[in-house]
């Protein structure tokens, strides 16, 4: 029965690892922090497997866990506790190969960074994880209607920030899939 649990976990792990890794890398400035978030998210999933839904819902559930892990990580002094040697090496390599966007994106990046955390996360989940309203509702644990309203407001605030920075808002595609 223990092996069965391991097998089930491994299946979910294998099919969601790259998504959670991407989620963490896009939100963490250092490979160590991203490694911590990935490791902690899956460690929680292992302990909380009974609560983990099946199929693609598992990915959304894991985004929710990762989001909490990240929030606690940013909040507390607990960061850089967990060390996984091989994982650190992989992440360092990935960070070395990735670029954080060109200079022309600087203004937009700044505008996004300066949004309230909840707005930024909502917009990021759409732009980066490609989630639709229903999926956002699952990740955030609220109704689709609440998602629609919050997203609308977040986009409005981003547009305003961009307009203030002199970026033509008309060129923006911020629709969800």
């Amino acid at each position: 029965m223990d092996d069965d649990r391991r097998d089930r976990f491994e299946a979910v792990y294998t099919q969601t690892y790259e998504r959670i890794l991407g989620y963490a890398m896009r939100r963490c400035d250092s490979p160590e922090d991203a490694a911590d978030v990935v490791a902690e998210t899956f460690a929680i999933a292992w302990r909380r497997m009974d609560a983990m839904p099946a199929g693609d819902e598992a990915r959304l559930w894991l985004y929710g866990v990762a989001r909490n892990v990240l929030a606690n990580h940013r909040r507390g002094q607990d960061r850089r506790r967990t060390r996984h040697v091989a994982l650190d090496a992989d992440l360092a390599d990935l960070y070395a190969r990735s670029s954080a966007g060109g200079d022309e994106l600087g203004v937009i990046a700044r505008a996004l960074r300066e949004l309230p955390e909840a707005d930024r996360e909502l917009i990021s989940l759409v732009a980066w994880e490609g989630l639709d309203h229903g999926q956002l509702a699952t990740v955030l644990g609220c109704s689709r209607n609440a998602v629609r309203i919050r997203l609308h407001r977040a986009r409005k605030r981003l547009s305003k920030a961009l307009a203030a920075a002199g970026v033509s808002v008309g060129t923006f595609v911020m629709e969800s899939a």
Partner: protein
């Protein structure tokens, strides 16, 4: 594509194949090495708080230690106060050499609680497990998870066999695990020993990497007929594990090893070959050819 998407440090597509990389596999091994404790608390509540979890672990370890104390043969505890500096039992010896605790695993088949008890006696929170492993992981750390501040000398936990390169699990081969004496965190470590006859490996390892049964062969995307012929040519046996791709094309699930094996035909497709036990490789197969490898996200297995 739009500007916001371009802000992303990395796109998921760029990460294809990472799930089968060394870091991902090591993390998986270390996570699943922990016995999953029942956690009835709502999962969303302070999910990342480490402190309560550690306390729970310590309590569990203490409970286990209480149960097995009588079974340990003459643990020698030196030192009057605080943690001892050395420990000896039939399962494990631990002694302080300079700034490092050197633990020698004497009985690879001991209940792993006995190792934990030894580490606990010298004040270390190290949970060590010895697992039957495929050849390339015997005598090596198969999984490790560390938590806590770095030690003063900057070293982490290391392991080696004595004599060097011997097959841990066989007579005359010991394994030592070195832990900095001021290590204040906790660690989970899995080390690989050679399997007993007929015993299945607990680690997951492609059979096609260096040191494994199908070294130098590419099994992925070949037909069952082709791969089984190669397996038999090498005097090995194949068992099947059927892969069930999810309807949406995202991910897959697995039948238990050997389930519905009679249905597998020579024209089925192999996506991965893993070391199952000595002389036996596990072929992960589907009936239809898929657009991309479900196990390795379209990349060949690496190890």
């Amino acid at each position: 594509m739009n500007e916001l998407k371009n802000l992303a440090r990395v796109h998921d597509e760029d990460l294809a194949g990472q799930a089968s990389g060394a870091g991902a596999r090591a993390l998986l091994a270390s996570i699943t090495a922990e016995e999953p404790a029942a956690e009835p608390a709502p999962w969303f509540v302070r999910v990342a708080r480490r402190r309560p979890a550690r306390r729970r672990l310590a309590l569990a370890a203490a409970a286990v230690a209480g149960l097995v104390t009588a079974a340990v043969v003459g643990p020698t505890v030196l030192g009057e106060r605080g943690p001892a500096t050395s420990y000896a039992s039939a399962a494990i010896d631990i002694e302080l050499r300079g700034d490092t605790y050197v633990a020698t695993i004497k009985d690879p088949f001991a209940d792993h609680a006995k190792y934990t008890e030894g580490f606990k006696a010298v004040g270390l929170n190290v949970n060590l497990e010895v697992i039957p492993a495929s050849p390339s992981r015997v005598g090596k750390i198969a999984g490790m998870s560390l938590s806590g501040p770095l030690s003063g000398n900057g070293r982490s936990i290391e392991a080696e066999t004595a004599p060097e390169g011997c097959a841990f699990g066989q007579d005359g081969c010991a394994m030592t695990v070195r832990v900095p004496h001021d290590w204040a965190g906790w660690a989970r470590i899995q080390v690989g020993r050679s399997a007993k006859p007929g015993e299945k490996y607990r680690n997951l390892r492609p059979a096609t990497v260096v040191g494994e049964m199908l070294e130098g062969y590419r099994a992925d995307e070949k037909t069952v007929g082709e791969v089984v012929a190669e397996v038999q040519r090498r005097g090995l046996k194949a068992v099947f594990q059927i892969v069930l791709p999810s309807p949406g094309g995202e991910g897959y699930s697995l039948e238990p090893e050997g389930a519905r094996a009679a249905e597998v035909g020579d024209d089925w497709i192999v996506w991965d070959a893993q070391s199952s036990q000595a002389g036996v490789v596990r072929l992960l197969v589907t009936k239809e050819r898929l657009p991309k490898n479900p196990i390795h996200s379209g990349r060949p297995p690496v190890g």
